[in-house]
């Protein structure tokens, strides 16, 4: 029966008349824009029905706003070790809502600043990882033959590498900086994406419209850019959102192991310092709890968004709601 197809037509069924009215002079470009606008609107309409995804998105927007506005909210010298405003390891008070660290800095201020590094490293590492994975996945899926065999062999071998250990090793042997962390996460997490994208590419390439495009005279570039890429993009988008949350967790882990950039404040780094200053044995939960909670909230928010995106764009994956 046609139950699965019964939802979209009523919405789009009403759109074509205005579209033809909007493009009477025969511009193919305006048609393209019209089409994009309606598909974004449709995406949003469907996304809105995923309550968890909306919560995730709301949380992300809030955290992103805080990260951007951190200097305005708590001043730009929060990270400064010299001339810190408080005494070492103060308990929460009205002046320091979360107390102070061993240098007397406001933990609340540090927490807000930590959002910046956590988000930016997460985004950059996920972007790097997804870019590598998508490129390799599409190329291996499209070209096949010995090329694919070699590439997928390499991917498999990266996949069996314990990613966290590899990231730790990279962060150990390279100089300590934010970029090292981004690189370490990026180059260890791409194989999953590559596998997924390759599988999707193979699925797309087995569809008859690829053969039709070949018969129309389309070359490799045409097929990869016009057919494969648009069809793997939903997967890639969902994968990116999910990868960001795992990248944020890995970043926190590396920082907790003392492998982060020592010059910036991050949530993982705060946890490490909390542990080293004996917050655990003295029961200073206010030092320990907030950064971890922040990590969990951001990671969860990205995961929820990713799952919502996934179920909107790829309803057959069975993760809906």
């Amino acid at each position: 029966m046609t139950t699965s197809e019964s939802t979209p037509p009523p919405e789009t069924g009403s759109t074509p008349p205005p579209a033809t009215g909007a493009a009477p002079q025969g511009k193919a470009r305006s048609l393209t824009w019209e089409r994009r606008r309606t598909s974004v609107a449709r995406f949003w309409r469907q996304y809105r029905s995923h309550r968890a995804g909306l919560y995730g998105l709301g949380a992300l927007l809030l955290i992103a706003a805080i990260a951007l506005a951190a200097p305005l909210l708590v001043g730009s010298d929060v990270q400064n070790v010299t001339g810190a405003p408080g005494k070492a390891l103060e308990s929460p008070s009205s002046r320091f809502p979360l107390g102070t660290d061993q240098y007397g800095r406001s933990l609340f201020g540090l927490l807000l600043y930590g959002a910046r590094i956590s988000l930016s490293v997460g985004l950059m590492a996920a972007a790097l990882s997804v870019a590598i994975g998508t490129l390799i996945g599409i190329l291996a899926g499209h070209f096949g033959g010995w090329f694919a065999t070699v590439v997928m062999r390499i991917t498999d071998w990266f996949l069996v590498m314990p990613a966290l250990v590899l990231a730790i090793v990279l962060a150990t042997v390279l100089s300590q900086s934010v970029w090292t962390v981004v690189l370490a996460i990026g180059v260890t997490s791409w194989p999953t994406t590559a596998r997924l994208v390759r599988a999707q590419t193979l699925a797309v390439e087995s569809r008859p419209y690829i053969e039709r495009a070949q018969a129309l005279g389309g070359g490799h570039g045409h097929i990869m850019a016009r057919h494969v890429l648009p069809n793997v993009m939903p997967l890639v988008l969902a994968q990116t959102t999910l990868l960001i949350s795992s990248a944020i967790l890995t970043e926190a882990t590396l920082a907790f192991l003392g492998l982060g950039d020592p010059n910036v404040v991050s949530w993982g780094g705060m946890l490490q310092e909390a542990r080293e200053t004996g917050a655990v044995s003295s029961g200073h939960w206010w030092y320990l709890a907030p950064p971890g909670l922040a990590i969990a909230v951001v990671a969860l928010a990205f995961t929820l968004c990713g799952r919502a995106v996934e179920s909107v764009l790829n309803p057959k994956l069975g993760t809906s709601r």
Binding site: G13, T15, G26, Y209, G217
Partner: protein
């Protein structure tokens, strides 16, 4: 009839001793999907290529389109041998178009109807008004008014409409030949006739030739001028539709026709599965399943040994009357002086 005038004009599409072999998987012997095919298609002619799945008809169609490279033999179009270099192949693909079985699969779900039809124009760089060309192709394919369909996505269309979009996408480049692989097999019965009528109309209006690959003999009766019956990589019988479908000579064609629900007489149901192209029997490739050989009629005609041991020649590409690759049919024909051949 188109067939009568065909020999006068030079063929549009022709294949000579075409062979396509696929390497066997995991040590299996190689599969000879196409094992020697001579086929010609005159301008404006509709030829139906009929056979069971696995007989190589789809591979043959793909090879004629240049999507598969033949192991040996050649394909020629408009008198010129097909050139497999990228540029020449691209030019060829402007002149020959493919229509596939499953219209929902042959349209990219993320492309609008407009994009799907304009795709060929974009690949080949259309100098004129793209929008007008797309609109014209859509209305030729029976989607009117075309503007109403521009922004639709494939999932918003019915099966018949999708197949019309695919046909419009082929028409937009102004081809000379359409290769249609089971064009109506996945459409509803009531829609089927409309799509076939469209193919006939395009032939009448545009002089378009068509090679229709199908398992459906009724389809050949509906639209084709000539029919070629394929078995295990070879054409075993070919000729004008009226001759082949009403007076089949080859036991295989006879069997295919006899199992149709409306056929008169006792159906001849061949046992077993359609055989495997990696193990083509010696002698006549059909002999292992042949009802004429099994019933002893071939023995009576004195050709039973020949059937088992002597391979048959490749049928000529084009002739006035029906052609059949069968020892038994040949033996029966000799005593009849008024036969169409020899």
């Amino acid at each position: 009839m188109t067939t009568a005038e065909a020999p006068a004009t030079s063929p549009l599409l022709a294949s000579r001793a075409l062979h396509v072999t696929f390497p066997g998987r995991r040590g299996a012997p190689p599969a000879q999907a196409v094992d020697g095919v001579d086929l010609e298609l005159a301008p404006g002619e509709i030829v139906a290529l009929v056979g069971e799945s696995g007989c190589g008809k789809t591979t043959l169609a793909r090879t004629l389109l240049g999507l598969v490279r033949p192991t040996s033999g050649e394909v020629s179009f408009g008198g010129e041998t097909l050139d497999y270099r990228a540029r020449a192949l691209k030019a060829y693909r402007k002149r020959v178009q493919l229509v596939l079985q499953d219209p929902s699969g042959s349209l990219n779900p993320r492309h609008t109807v407009y994009d799907a039809v304009a795709e060929g124009l974009r690949i080949h760089g259309h100098p004129g008004d793209e929008r007008a060309a797309v609109a014209e192709a859509l209305s030729r394919a029976g989607l009117r008014p075309p503007e109403r369909f521009f922004l639709r996505y494939p999932h918003e269309l019915s099966g018949g409409q999708r197949q019309r979009v695919v046909i419009a996408g082929a028409l937009v480049l102004g081809p000379e030949l359409i290769v249609a692989d089971e064009p109506v097999a996945s459409l509803d019965a009531s829609v089927r006739g409309e799509i076939l009528a469209l193919l006939l109309k395009l032939r009448d209006e545009l002089g378009l030739s068509a090679l229709v690959v199908t398992h459906d003999l009724g389809l050949a009766w509906n639209i084709a001028d000539r029919v070629a019956v394929m078995y295990l990589g070879r054409i075993v019988e070919s000729g004008p539709v009226e001759d082949v479908l009403t007076h089949p000579q080859h036991p295989y064609t006879q069997a295919l026709l006899s199992v149709l629900p409306e056929a008169d007489g006792e159906p001849v149901v061949l046992s077993g599965e359609p055989p495997d192209p990696s193990r083509i029997p010696s002698g006549c490739r059909f002999h292992a399943r042949c009802q004429v050989l099994a019933s002893g009629r071939a023995e009576e005609a004195g050709v039973a040994d020949k059937c088992r041991t002597e391979p048959l020649p490749v049928l000529p590409a084009h002739a006035d009357g029906p052609q059949v690759a069968c020892h038994w049919a040949a033996a029966r024909r000799v005593p009849r002086p008024g036969g169409p051949q020899e």
